[in-house]
Symmetry: C2
Subunit: 229 residues, 2 copies
DNA sequence: CAACTATTTTAGAAAATAATTGAATAGGTT
DNA sequence: AACCTATTCAATTATTTTCTAAAATAGTTG
């Protein structure tokens, strides 16, 4: 029923696809990929953020590079890693979608940590894009100033979480507010939205955070430069 | 900057996602998943088609079951395995898309094997769905009769590859023909389409085969029963 | 060019995974 | 109930992966 050439073809083919699968088989590498979905980072930063040693991080990055999922760029003394293209992000999203629907453990873990997210209203990237055009929404980037300067959604205001309280006078209650942060597992915008709601604002969170916005091709500013879809 | 709870959360979270990643890290398991995307199969069949032993196949299926990517159903003496839901298929598609765009090796391997595919016209699942409604297209299922009986696209004619020649008189040249087979790496429809074109027909192949059609929710018949989108 | 810095490589130990074989089991079938 | 059959389990061996610490490297900066 099956020819040798066909078997040989499939063996070689799936061996190649498994290179990508192997890259996805380690928790650290998944965390690195998710981190890089936010923007490029140097090895040292990746190591610190993910709580591993530099040597170990370097090895994981090597694996990711061998499977062509990430690319590098030298900046001064640093080597910055970034996702190779939008297909990598889409793959991560599919993985996340599957995990969230099929693995009860993930549901339990996120529920424990993202306690009150269920009570907060969310807006998807494309919904927000529409609302921004109409112009009746204030968009808050609640990550750190450094992250904002690195890159952010076009038209967003930098408002790191801890600065909110002192800046309420800048926020008119007449307008809708949307807050965003790093990604789907970041709680910064949850806190801000919950707080603003207690203060009488109508606030929502961007559902999947900055990476989703960026990789779907919605307009961003990177290093001060505007990049449109 | 990072709290213990946050690190602990991320460690537990990515450990779970890595369960799925690990499932994707072995070539045999990828081939099994792709096979199951066509429809459910018992262990013995999976082993034979993928060219491995039953015990080995059983172990790989065990891994896939532990990560909730496949489910089982007992039929008589057999245990049939199937994809757990459409998210598994979408993940496979993302993996395929990434591999095909980023890994030069995959391009080379598929080009060698699918020699003349580039010269054949293809039609996507949603395009075909539209054309079928308009009714001016003949749809040929060129897989085996057994596979057709198991499940097929609603409205398709069973026309196993080796029966084409003797059935040309049944195919009016006035109508467009579309042929489909197992999946993106199956060559059956390539051969049929190429042959029909030499015989003066206007024939195209369904771009990603039966699995794409099925999991995107287009109408199929499974075991003689119609299932609409 | 020398010194420095960020990153990669190497080597080695521990842990995890994969394939093989043969025995065990759970279900249906007779 | 005894029997069959398809599948799983268990034990073993070979291979691969992960991590650490130390050494090496490449590229930038002074």
């Amino acid at each position: 029923m099956q020819t040798d050439t066909e078997r040989n073809f499939k063996d070689k083919l799936y061996e190649q696809f498994a290179r990508i699968g192997k890259s996805l088989s380690n928790p650290h590498r998944l965390e690195i990929l998710e981190l890089l979905a936010e923007g490029e980072r140097c090895v040292e930063d990746i190591a610190e953020i993910t709580g591993t040693t530099i040597a170990n991080t370097s090895q994981h990055l090597g694996v990711l590079r061998a499977s062509r999922m990430v690319e590098i760029r030298r900046i001064g003394n640093n080597i910055n890693y970034r996702l190779a293209d939008e297909n990598v992000f889409y793959l991560l999203q599919s993985l996340r979608a599957l995990g969230e629907t099929r693995l009860a453990e993930i549901d339990r873990i996120t529920r424990d940590y993202l306690e009150d997210r269920a009570s907060l209203r969310a807006v998807t990237a494309s919904e927000l894009a529409d609302e921004l055009v109409n112009g009746n929404v204030i968009l808050l980037d609640v990550r750190t100033v450094e992250e904002f300067q690195e890159e952010h959604i076009q038209g967003a205001l930098s408002m790191p979480m801890e600065t909110i309280e002192n800046n309420l006078y800048n926020l008119p209650k007449s307008r809708e507010i949307v807050a965003y942060c790093r990604g789907p597992y970041c709680v910064l915008s949850d806190h801000v939205v919950a707080y603003l709601n207690t203060q009488g604002y109508s606030a929502r969170r961007l559902s999947d955070g900055y990476p989703e916005w960026k990789w779907r091709g919605f307009p961003v500013e990177i290093g001060g430069k505007r990049l449109d879809a």
